[in-house]
Symmetry: C2
Subunit: 403 residues, 2 copies
């Protein structure tokens, strides 16, 4: 889920295409649209509804006259609408990281890439509750005129998809050629395929299981606790004050460990010390891996909102695709009418191959068309972003088969 | 590493023998002895030396006239000298948990148990830097008259063993029948066997690898960061004030996840909600696994010192038995002259079977006598405390072979 990781992991790094490259979608500009207001608030799974709701999104490629070449891609926990190319607004929202780097899935989206923008119209929007342009806990609560904080409703993947449907309506698209994502993004693809079976021809699910395991729930619980027990959290009302950076940093460090694998950490960092061979006999970060995590959390707290971390991990905890079948995965799978491409990654321990196969088996037992690729990789959960060479061919062939 | 876990994990729970049971060592009283003072300070690996040093220890069984039936056992991260039986001092040091429960390895130490106290004299001491009676960061610094805090020297497993040797000298024991422990305790057994080859006849190493992996280093780094960025930490000088409980709690939650396994968490907690089937749409602990971790951290912060957590995890990070062979495990192994029993546990992901086997292979290639048991268990790292039935027979037979 991290780009600095690419650089650090060395040879598996995705080489970024500069904006003037024929393989880049070039400069991009995020757009915003209001998709819920007082007259048509967005109903939510918690029973409440919300307005106003703004959505930030980007698009790449061209919608064809038949309007049948659109692909909706979904970001994971810490992502945004900027999936490909280079953002013109380098300092958009005061967040310096944007524009400094290409979109989070630039390796897959562009002319001649897995999602080939010469053929497909690719859309990505920021999820409800995030902090990158779509309405979230840092947005103004119309009832108080102040930022929501924890008065923002607890949102679900179902809510995210409900809002994305409004975006697709707004764009005048009846049926998506495909929905696609990794991790939490893969679960959004599942949710789309089950909640709007007539509007999806193909679903691409990478490194995503039907639901998070007990261990995954546990990691999220610790991350949220770290944020909420930071005195800077102030019950979520920290806007305009010092934010709970320390807690958010700890949360991010925990997350990072779960995105890598034992093997990738051993290969890259081992037990190397940052300063030669001498032990420091002190408590400053001393091993390379400590320095790496320290750097990761520092850059993360500068670009992410702690409340959004709470809301998005909660949505991640709550998601269980089996809910569509009252707890029965195969019954849930029967609701879908699309073709499926499911990929798992051998060293992923957040959504293990075994857990990913559960969904494939459910689809098979429901008689649905599904291809499962179990990709050998040492890169852990992050492999869905790093194993571009292996993923590109599968995705391109799958999309070809849908046309 | 947790006893409440036993209760929660249900059927694998070790049934505690009450103090009047023929299988219990009964009531115990910890003893303390000063093993370093101004005239003979304890030299440390960091280059400093320390005095005074008090050591808390317990013994079970009787030292025979030949003084050759002594077994030194070692506790892991959060343990103490109270390895077996029931502590008379229920409120010793104001820490209520003592006396409320039997020693941390009571399932293995007692009449007729793996370490049979009818035959063996079993000794356990609290490590240097801990908070259970042995000198540590909460002790008074003779230079200032105040608690050490972070002025306490960073100590190593080598230092721990150096101090334990003084204890064994004090007890008039020339040669130990065996040294034994799990996790960090198993590494102390390695350290004893290599640093004092003439004083150890057998070494029992459970769930312990030659060194911690990069992933293990990463978890410890996050745990320490959680403690040190708690405003209550005050640079380690929090004694007499509110301690950094929130940070220590987060650290403990992280640790707990690493002691269990994906499988054991799935079996015990799954995705069960604490209050029926309805989602709460809020941020209170909601899944069973969240409630469990919450309970664990709460009871831990009441009984453990945050500074000790820093020092002991640092010792854990630093330890690498290969240092004895200038980085070569087999060369290190050649220093030992004892017999070895090494046990790994199939679902342990903190010290994986593969990592544990490295030490066994090194011993074999050095021509040392070693039995390796790879024990099938779903209980993760904690299996070394929980798989009593499987461990008892191996230990008893191994000790028999030494007599």
């Amino acid at each position: 889920m991290s780009d600095p990781l690419n650089a650090l992991l060395g040879k598996k790094s995705n080489k970024y295409d500069p904006p003037d490259s024929p393989r880049s979608v070039g400069w991009t500009t995020p757009r915003r649209v209001r998709l819920a207001d007082q007259s048509n608030p967005l109903p939510l799974d918690c029973g409440r509804s919300i307005w106003p709701v703004e959505v930030e999104y980007e698009t790449y490629g061209t919608l064809n006259p038949e309007r049948d070449n659109a692909i909706l891609v979904f970001h994971a926990l810490s992502g945004d609408a900027h999936a490909a190319g280079w953002d013109r607004n380098a300092e958009h929202d005061g967040r310096l990281w944007r524009g400094k780097r290409p979109g989070w899935w630039d390796s897959m989206i562009g002319p001649g890439k897995g999602f080939d923008t010469r053929r497909y119209y690719v859309i990505c929007s920021n999820v409800l509750g995030s902090c990158y342009g779509t309405t979230g806990p840092s947005s103004t609560n119309p009832e108080t005129g102040l930022p929501y904080g924890l008065r923002f409703p607890v949102v679900t993947l179902g809510d995210w998809v409900r809002l994305q449907r409004r975006l697709i309506d707004h764009l005048g698209i009846d049926r998506l050629l495909a929905v696609a994502g990794g991790s939490l993004g893969g679960q959004q693809a599942m949710e789309w395929a089950l909640s709007s079976p007539d509007r999806v021809r193909g679903a691409i699910v990478l490194a995503a299981a039907p639901r998070l395991s007990a261990q995954g729930l546990a990691f999220n619980a610790v991350a949220r606790r770290a944020i909420m027990c930071d005195p800077g959290f102030r019950g979520g009302d920290y806007y305009g004050e010092t934010s709970p950076e320390a807690g958010l940093g700890v949360a991010r460090m925990i997350g990072h460990i779960t995105y890598l694998s034992q093997a990738s950490m051993a290969m890259k960092f081992g037990r190397q010390l940052r300063n030669g061979n001498r032990l420091g006999f002190g408590f400053d970060p001393e091993f390379e891996v400590e320095g790496y995590l320290q750097h990761q959390q520092q850059s993360f707290v500068e670009r992410f909102d702690a409340n959004s971390y709470l809301y998005i991990t909660k949505a991640m905890d709550y998601y269980d695709v089996a809910t569509w079948g009252d707890g029965d995965l195969a019954r849930a799978a029967m609701l879908s009418r699309c073709s499926w491409l499911v990929a798992s990654f051998s060293s992923d321990w957040l959504y293990t191959p075994e857990q990913c196969f559960e969904w494939t088996e459910a689809l098979r037992s429901a008689g649905r068309q599904v291809a499962h690729c179990d990709i050998k990789s040492s890169y852990g959960h992050d492999a869905f972003l790093l194993e571009t060479a292996q993923v590109t061919g599968k995705v391109a062939a799958f999309l070809d088969g849908l046309k």
